[in-house]
């Protein structure tokens, strides 16, 4: 079958949404990068990119790509600080029956 093309920003316009969960545009990312520098975690906090349901799985690589293209050394690894849970999980799956 066909391999999906790598995500690319070449066709993106300033109003193109890069983070779909939180509806963050390319222009917003670029503006945040001027304030927050090349740090991917700081752009996340400034724009909410990566704070939605996908937790950055789709948008974080694109953000890293954008920051690197702007000359930033984007070596944060993993991209965002890891936060439990690893993927979204219903509260009922974690909560216990008894309440302290």
């Amino acid at each position: 079958m066909f391999r999906a093309p790598p995500p690319a920003l070449e066709l993106a316009m300033p109003d193109t949404i890069v983070c779909r969960c939180e509806e963050v545009t390319l222009a917003e990312i670029d503006e945040a990068a001027t304030i927050a520098g090349g740090a991917i975690g700081a752009v996340k906090l400034d724009t909410r990119l990566g704070m939605g349901r996908c937790q950055g799985r789709y948008c974080a690589p694109l953000l890293a790509q954008r920051l690197r293209a702007g000359g930033a050394v984007c070596d944060d690894d993993p991209l965002f600080a890891p936060r439990a849970p690893a993927k979204p999980v219903p509260l009922a799956a974690i909560a216990r029956r008894e309440v302290e």
Partner: protein, 384 residues
């Protein structure tokens, strides 16, 4: 950066909610201000954005009656702080998702109800807009709570604010007003040099005629460089956030006796907290969460809001409370002219902007919006 660019009138170490608000106010008063912050964005950026006014039950249970009494004397400061948030939101001209629709502190037992009734009487006498809600009224006002909640103390001035949006708008306004922000840049040392202060950093030495230490839980270590004892601790607290769901929870919800806060932001995320412990990981020095806090917190949340069962948990994190004796530390340091401390303490995010307003008034010899007498650092000297 040339040496001259690093020399100014006021240097603020710490660009969190208090430091950046102070920078904005001073710049508006025509003062030359610089902010240095160790983080990539100002402050710890981990506050969850509750606006607290009624006394938190956690504080009453954990602190001595004398400390509770001392904070009681300044409860109107919290009300003024929320008014300041409303004014600031209008002034910033950006949507920071500020919602002031009141807070409920709920009870599940008769004992808890009695505790709240007594607390409500005291707070009403102090001038807070509080009243008790019986079971029926609570059901009407807060239909998102389960029948386990049998009553509550309602406080009209409580609310919530989206901290990420607020910090972002505040810093942009401060820069526009002329504040120069240097970060990420750590201060490695502070010293007195003649009539001025010097801050050692990787980008050289910054000097200023006046120095403000506004670094939350890190303020004690900074003050020590200048021989000043400032008892403030970093207290990591556990937080959870769910995926966005339809708007249900209007209020800031707290519990009279158990560790729970619940609130929902404008974008639909439900934030669940309540002061359960997190910790600073020794290896990475990063705040980290405990499994027991996640389980305990979510179990109690489902007990009181069972409709959250199928809502998914997105993230957990450790917020950092800058713990003082319960009151802000705001004002000059006697014996070190030009040195100021700015730590707003418990509920520090709520108190940040108003604390900044009052300290800026003090630093520019303006009429005071609030008497800072009870907030001086000298109280710790007197106590030790």
């Amino acid at each position: 950066m040339s040496a001259g660019e690093r020399d100014g009138d006021v240097l603020i170490v710490g660009g969190g909610i208090l430091g950046m608000s102070l920078a904005l106010r001073l710049a508006q008063h025509g003062v030359d201000v610089r902010v240095i912050d160790a983080a990539r964005l100002g402050g710890s950026t981990v506050n969850a954005g509750s606006l607290h006014v009624q006394m938190q039950s956690r504080f009453i249970r954990m602190e001595s009656p004398a400390r509770v009494e001392a904070v009681r004397r300044h409860q109107m400061f919290y009300v003024r702080a929320v008014r300041e948030w409303e004014a600031l939101a209008a002034e910033l001209g950006a949507d920071i998702e500020l919602v002031v629709e009141g807070g409920v502190m709920l009870a599940e037992t008769r004992e808890q109800l009695a505790f709240l009734e007594q607390k409500c009487r005291i707070e009403e006498r102090l001038g807070l807009a509080v009243r008790m809600l019986g079971a029926d009224e609570l059901r009407r006002v807060a239909p998102y709570l389960s029948p386990h909640a049998i009553g509550a103390e309602f406080c009209a001035d409580e609310g919530k604010v989206n901290t990420l949006l607020a910090n972002r708008a505040l810093e942009r306004a401060a820069r526009k007003a002329g504040v120069r922000v240097h970060r990420p840049l750590e201060v490695g040392g502070l010293e007195r040099k003649g009539q001025r202060f010097a801050a050692r950093t990787a980008q050289g030495e910054f000097t200023a005629a006046r120095l403000v230490i506004a670094a939350g839980g890190g303020s004690g270590a900074l003050a020590r460089h200048l021989g000043v004892a400032l008892p403030v601790e970093s207290e990591p607290l556990h937080m959870n956030v769910t995926e966005p769901v339809a708007p249900m929870i209007r209020h800031l919800v707290q519990h009279a006796d158990r560790q729970l806060t619940l609130k929902q932001f404008v974008n639909g995320n439900v934030v669940i907290g309540g002061g359960r412990p997190a910790f600073i990981d020794a290896r990475s020095s990063l705040p980290w969460v405990k499994r027991t806090s996640i389980e305990g917190n979510l179990s109690l949340a489902l007990h009181l809001a069972p409709w959250l069962a199928e809502v998914r948990l997105l993230r957990t994190w450790a917020g950092i409370n800058a713990k003082t004796d319960g009151l802000p530390v705001l004002g000059p340091v006697a014996g070190t002219p030009g040195l100021f401390i700015a730590v707003s303490g418990d509920a520090g995010y709520t108190l940040g902007p108003f604390s900044a307003r009052v300290l800026a008034e003090r630093m520019t010899d303006r009429a005071a919006s609030y008497d800072l007498a009870g907030f001086g650092i000298e109280r710790f000297v007197a106590a030790s």
